[in-house]
Symmetry: C2
Subunit: 355 residues, 2 copies
Amino acid sequence: MADVARLAGVGKMTVSRVLSGSANVSDATADRVHRAIGMLNYQPNELARSLRSLHSRTIAVIVPYLYDSFFATCAHAISTVAKQHGYSVILTTSDEEQETEQRQTNLMVRRRIDGMVIIPAPGDDRYLRAEMYSRVHIVTLDRPLADPRFDSVLVNNSAGTKMAVEHLIGHGHRRIGFLGVGRELYTMKARYAGYRQAMMRAGLAAEPYMECRTPEQAVEQIGAALNRGQPLSALFAANNLTTRYLLHALNTLHVDVPEQVATAGFDDLDVADILQPTLTVVRQPVYQIGEAAANLLFERILRREFPSTGRRVVLPLELVVRSSCGCHANAQGNSKAAETVPARAERAAAHSRQN
Amino acid sequence: MADVARLAGVGKMTVSRVLSGSANVSDATADRVHRAIGMLNYQPNELARSLRSLHSRTIAVIVPYLYDSFFATCAHAISTVAKQHGYSVILTTSDEEQETEQRQTNLMVRRRIDGMVIIPAPGDDRYLRAEMYSRVHIVTLDRPLADPRFDSVLVNNSAGTKMAVEHLIGHGHRRIGFLGVGRELYTMKARYAGYRQAMMRAGLAAEPYMECRTPEQAVEQIGAALNRGQPLSALFAANNLTTRYLLHALNTLHVDVPEQVATAGFDDLDVADILQPTLTVVRQPVYQIGEAAANLLFERILRREFPSTGRRVVLPLELVVRSSCGCHANAQGNSKAAETVPARAERAAAHSRQN
DNA sequence: CTGTTAGCGCGTTCAT
DNA sequence: ATGAACGCGCTAACAG
């Protein structure tokens, strides 16, 4: 920078001002500076800038995995919003482990990031109360934190599940199973609760939670549930992963859908309408969830707000009725045949882009 | 840090030494320092460290999109390797636009990242010759750069495609179409070339490249190709996206697979074995590609090597034969029915993890 | 409108 | 084995 200043015949301060686009520089000198920058191919050191200015124009994003399309799409949305604000994103994965998450959030604080978007791993999240986190803006996604200070973006998992299960009940099913991954996850708990509500309201017995962590486990569990005395006639899969396991198992067991067993699930798959049968699902507005979280975060960052009570944004779900539930039983999987039922959202939030 | 030093009754320098794990500190004082760090909840400022030490323990990853599972899985692999080395990852998307990529690489240099893993957007990549890039290690993935200085990890796209197309030819097909996304992409060019080779070697006429950028375009193109005088009897889809478009189109057009039209494609889908029919595909070792690239990068970073001729690692493909090609025509989509044919790899590279 | 002074939080270079 | 001074590259706060 000193070189640039010398070549332009000005002080370092003026160069700095030009770089920050500060107003108080005459066009003539600004031009000279720009020319000097071009000549020397000068690249400002963002590290030094951040050190001095106390903000790094960087946010951290922590998701469990990146190969889950839900998380990846959220990350994409956040990254896109960040780019619009001229921010960079440091992205890391927690692998659903609290300890990893904790190590990473800690590292991010040491890197002086301006904010974080986290999909919290299960476990005790009180570590975020530590004083070191009090100066960084935090927004969570998909799962809330116990501490009410932090903003979060969610969907109404139980209502969405209830809607889908009620739809299955409407088809006359009385024994409906629920498949989930780890019970410790917030979303799984909420969805199972919605399932139970739907069953109980219809005067039906809720089945125990079927945990499917692997395709093999799914085959085993589902096989047992279909071969017992009073076999299940419908299954609800709690997310995109269990949906795949479910379909895999039904294929392996040579079970026809929806004739022998009807299905529905949480999360839309990008192949949901080319599968046979096409899948009836509760669709989350995935990209919008990430986008809303990022908008929330940047609002806090730009306003330097650390509220004692964070906002909780709930985005709407929709039930996409295709044929795996028993509707359109002889439709050829044409996506135009799908009907969409918007769910009632607890609080629909309007998000305007800042800046 | 000054506070820590005062509390521990030592100089700042000693604290610094303790943090870096430097040898020349007596155990007694080291203990006092650690205690002081704990008391004050001191968090070292990585920005200042980086400014001083000239390396940030951060790498950049630039991919076109994050919602494409191929790219997301690569990113996940890179992120995992980086974490093992104690590095952070700044991840950005180029949206397949050179200009965005250029802006982002530039920003990364200003952030003084130690290295970059790039999946280059199509276009003239000579901008990387600029002097500013000469001090950062660069590895590409999936697509090579013109400049031979940079390491890259690739698969043999043409050989893989040839293998699959020859398999279709083996089923007796003579009019086989090729579906791709943008022709400007390296992988699309290479795969189309492989397709042409396979066709020509069999004495068949290669069809023109069918560009499918949207589901609608796919329906249109495929509809025309199946309704013309000499209709196609098989189709090859050049990646995961076109595979989805292809299946969607065939569904919409009520075409039976593989009876009316056989298909094969590049890239395995995680639902490939629950689709009806199950898909015959050329599978890339996606995670390993990302991992290999990251290992290559860290090797360069740790050895501070800037070779004039980079390495080119080619990873093996395999043909996963399921039923969409016409094999196992009455198999029930059991994944155990799939046969796997490893492809000849040009150069199989052994990668040992550093450190 | 522009320059000067000071210091962001560390680590390297010397001393001791 | 430990500490003091200096500087990494930049900008906030004041002068002029």
